[in-house]
Assembly symmetry: C2
Homo-oligomer: 138 residues x 2
């Protein structure tokens, strides 16, 4: 496996981090970046999860989105059970390099519930929490 | 301030969490949810950050996006310095209720760099990290 994350995140200046061409991902205290996967055509957010350095490297190498599962404590190839892989079209990096947006083509529903996106409910800001969520249909 | 987050996240079943109408946000070990703010019209991801219970409550009450700044360790009304508030149109909740997508109208550029979105660079998956980022123009 090719070596990745070759630049130490603390070795570059704020200006370099925000405006340069050097990729120096800033993993949090748990070693994670936030990764938002959106549909490459519609921009709809499909799933939000986390990547450690290994998940990021495998995503770059394979072209399929890998996460780090915080609940299971293991590398997680999204779609490894369902076959519904997320095929990377483009990876965007934010200003401080601690979050990624991945534009992807999904082989099928992304959510384990069978929904196209994990975000299939709306929160009514005014409602009591006991009845605040309702399904969306788009 | 109205009391919020009235349902203990551990008191509901997996089925209720994933398919019910009860909002029981699952804060992580640091007391945070992931919040993805997207442009209400284009769906473009503008910024990714975190909310604690207070930031979530203030967002619901005020209609303006509030975060918890992990680096500064304080509540953060997005736009409090720049005037570029993020005005909530709709809040979506994911299957396991640990992430939000907020559809918002931005009063101006969202990124502190002046960019419309914090995600203004693309990562070349094949390139060496020292020259892996390039600006996008859309």
């Amino acid at each position: 496996m090719r070596s990745r994350v070759t630049v130490n995140a603390n070795s570059i200046s704020k200006v370099e981090r925000e405006s340069g061409s050097v990729f120096a991902p800033k993993f949090d205290s748990g070693g994670l970046l936030t990764a938002v996967v959106v549909d490459a055509e519609s921009n709809e957010v499909l799933v939000v999860a986390f990547m450690n350095a290994e998940a990021l490297a495998k995503t770059r190498e394979s072209g399929r989105v890998h996460f780090w599962s915080r609940s299971r404590g293991e590398l997680w190839l999204k779609g490894e059970t369902s076959g519904n892989y997320l095929n990377v079209e483009e990876i965007l990096v934010d200003c401080d390099q601690d979050a990624l947006v991945i534009r992807a083509k999904a082989d099928g529903p992304t959510c384990h519930t069978g929904a196209r996106s994990c975000f299939y409910r709306r929160l009514d800001p005014e409602a009591d929490d006991e009845r605040a969520l309702s399904p969306i249909s788009r």
